[in-house]
C-alpha cells in the first residue's frame, strides 16, 4: 500500500529468509511467532539464551521477569549481561540486548519478585511461559498459575554439569506436581550459587527452551512433553525419559483437585523464593 509498510514487509522477509524457506516453518509459522507473547521468568543462565533466540526468531512480545541486578559472578554464564550492566536490573539488561538484535520485539520488564499476589496478572497476557528460575518455590508457583490459566510451561534447569528440560501442562501431559507432589526438603536442594554450574550447560538448556516454545507456539514437530530430556555435559550424552501421564491423583490437575487457588509457596517449600539464599531453615 504505502512505501513504509512495503519496506517493513520486505525487511521481515529478508530478516527471516533462512527460516521462511523451511517447508515445515514458512510464512504461516513466522506470522504465529510475530503475534505471540512469551514470558521468561528468570533472566539468568537459562533466560539469557532463551530470550535472545526467541527475539532472533521474531517473537512479538517478550516478558522479562527478574527482581535481581547483574553481578560480576553472573557473567560466566548469563551471556546477555555486560560488564557495564553490573548493578542494572537483569530484566532491563536483557531488554537492551534483545532490542539491539531485534528492535521490533516488544519487551515488558517485571522487576518485582513474582508472588501469589501478582503472578496471575502478569502471566495472563502470555501464550507460553518459560521457567528459567533457580528455586523450588517459584517453580511450584509458576506451575500452579500456568495450570489455572491453561498456559504451557517450558521448564529448564541446570546445575554443575547437568541439565533437564521438559514441558508441563501441555495437552494431556503432566504438571510439575504430577511428577513432584511433595517438595524436596530445603536441605536437599542445591542452587547454582552453592553447587556451581558450568556456564554452557544453562546455555544449552535455555536455547532448547526457546526451541520448545517455538515448536509449541507453531505446532511443529513433537514437543518435549510427557518426557524429560536429561543432559550430562561431561559425557556429551542426552537421554529422553518417558515420564508419567497427567496423574488422576494430582492435587492440582487431577480429578479431585484440592488446590484451587494459589497458595503460600515459600511456606509450602520451606524455602525462600530467591536465587540467593536457598536453604533458609527458619522462615
Amino acid at each position: 500500500k504505502n512505501t513504509k509498510s512495503n519496506l517493513a514487509y520486505l525487511e521481515t522477509i529478508k530478516r527471516f529468509s533462512r527460516q521462511l524457506i523451511l517447508p515445515e516453518f514458512g510464512p504461516s509459522k513466522q506470522d504465529i511467532l510475530g503475534s505471540s507473547a512469551v514470558l521468561i521468568v528468570g533472566c539468568g543462565g537459562l533466560g539469557c539464551p532463551a530470550a535472545i533466540y526467541l527475539a532472533a526468531a521474531g517473537i512479538s512480545t517478550l516478558g522479562l521477569v527478574d527482581y535481581d541486578d547483574v553481578e560480576l559472578s553472573n557473567l560466566h554464564r548469563q551471556i546477555l549481561h555486560t560488564e557495564s550492566s553490573i548493578g542494572m536490573s537483569k530484566a532491563f539488561s536483557v531488554k537492551n540486548a534483545v532490542k539491539n538484535l531485534n528492535s521490533k520485539v516488544t519487551c515488558l520488564t517485571h522487576t518485582d519478585s513474582v508472588t501469589s499476589s501478582n503472578i496471575m496478572e502478569i502471566i495472563k497476557k502470555y501464550d507460553i511461559v518459560l521457567d528459567c528460575t533457580d528455586n523450588v518455590a517459584t517453580r511450584y508457583l509458576l506451575n500452579d498459575a500456568c495450570f489455572f490459566l491453561r498456559i504451557p510451561l517450558v521448564s529448564g534447569a541446570a546445575l554443575r554439569f547437568e541439565g533437564q528440560l521438559t514441558i508441563y501442562g501441555l495437552d494431556n501431559g503432566p504438571c510439575y506436581r504430577c511428577l513432584y507432589p511433595v517438595p524436596p526438603a530445603p536441605e536437599n536442594v542445591t542452587n547454582c550459587s552453592e553447587g556451581g554450574v558450568l556456564g554452557v550447560v544453562p546455555g544449552i538448556i535455555g536455547t532448547m527452551q526457546a526451541l520448545e516454545a517455538i515448536k509449541v507456539l507453531c505446532g511443529i514437530g513433537e514437543p518435549c512433553s510427557g518426557q524429560m530430556l536429561i543432559f550430562d555435559a561431561l559425557t556429551t550424552k542426552f537421554r529422553n525419559i518417558k515420564v508419567r501421564n497427567r496423574s488422576q491423583n494430582c492435587q492440582l490437575c487431577g480429578s479431585n483437585p484440592t488446590i484451587n487457588e494459589l497458595i503460600d509457596y515459600e511456606a509450602f517449600c520451606g524455602a525462600r523464593a530467591t536465587d540467593k539464599d536457598q536453604n533458609v531453615s527458619i522462615l
Binding site: G44, A157, E162, P184, A185, R244
Partner: protein, 109 residues
C-alpha cells in the same frame, strides 16, 4: 539323585544423576549381580532395601536419598528410560539386564 539348587541372578545397571550420585560415593554407574536370596521380592522395594542396608555403596546420610521404604521427594526413579510410575513403582518386578536410574531433580538456572 542329585539336588541342584538353582540360584537365579539378576544383572542390573544402576545409575545416579542430578546429584544423587554424591550420596553413593560419587560414582555414577555401577553394574551389580544380585541373587533372589539378596533380592527377596525381586522388586524395586527390595532393591532399595538392599541399597540402603547391604550394598555398601552409601557414603552419606541415608535420609539424603531414602524416605521410609521409598526414595525421598525430588528423586525420579527411571526403569529402562521410563518413569517408574509407569511400571508399578516399588512393586516393579526386576528383569535381568534392567537399567535403573535415580535422577535427582535440578532447580538451578
Amino acid at each position: 539323585e542329585q539336588k541342584v539348587k538353582m540360584v537365579n541372578k539378576l544383572k542390573l545397571t544402576l545409575e545416579w544423576a542430578g546429584g544423587s550420585e554424591m550420596i553413593f560415593g560419587n560414582i555414577r554407574k555401577r553394574t551389580v549381580e544380585l541373587s533372589d536370596e539378596v533380592l527377596k521380592g525381586k522388586d524395586i522395594r527390595s532393591l532399595l532395601k538392599w541399597l540402603k542396608a547391604d550394598s555398601g555403596f552409601l557414603t552419606h546420610n541415608p535420609e539424603l536419598f531414602f524416605s521410609g521404604d521409598t526414595v525421598r521427594p525430588g528423586i525420579l526413579v527411571v526403569i529402562n528410560d521410563s518413569d517408574w510410575e509407569l511400571c508399578n513403582e516399588l512393586d516393579y518386578q526386576l528383569q535381568d539386564g534392567d537399567y535403573i536410574s535415580f535422577i535427582s531433580t535440578l532447580h538451578g538456572g
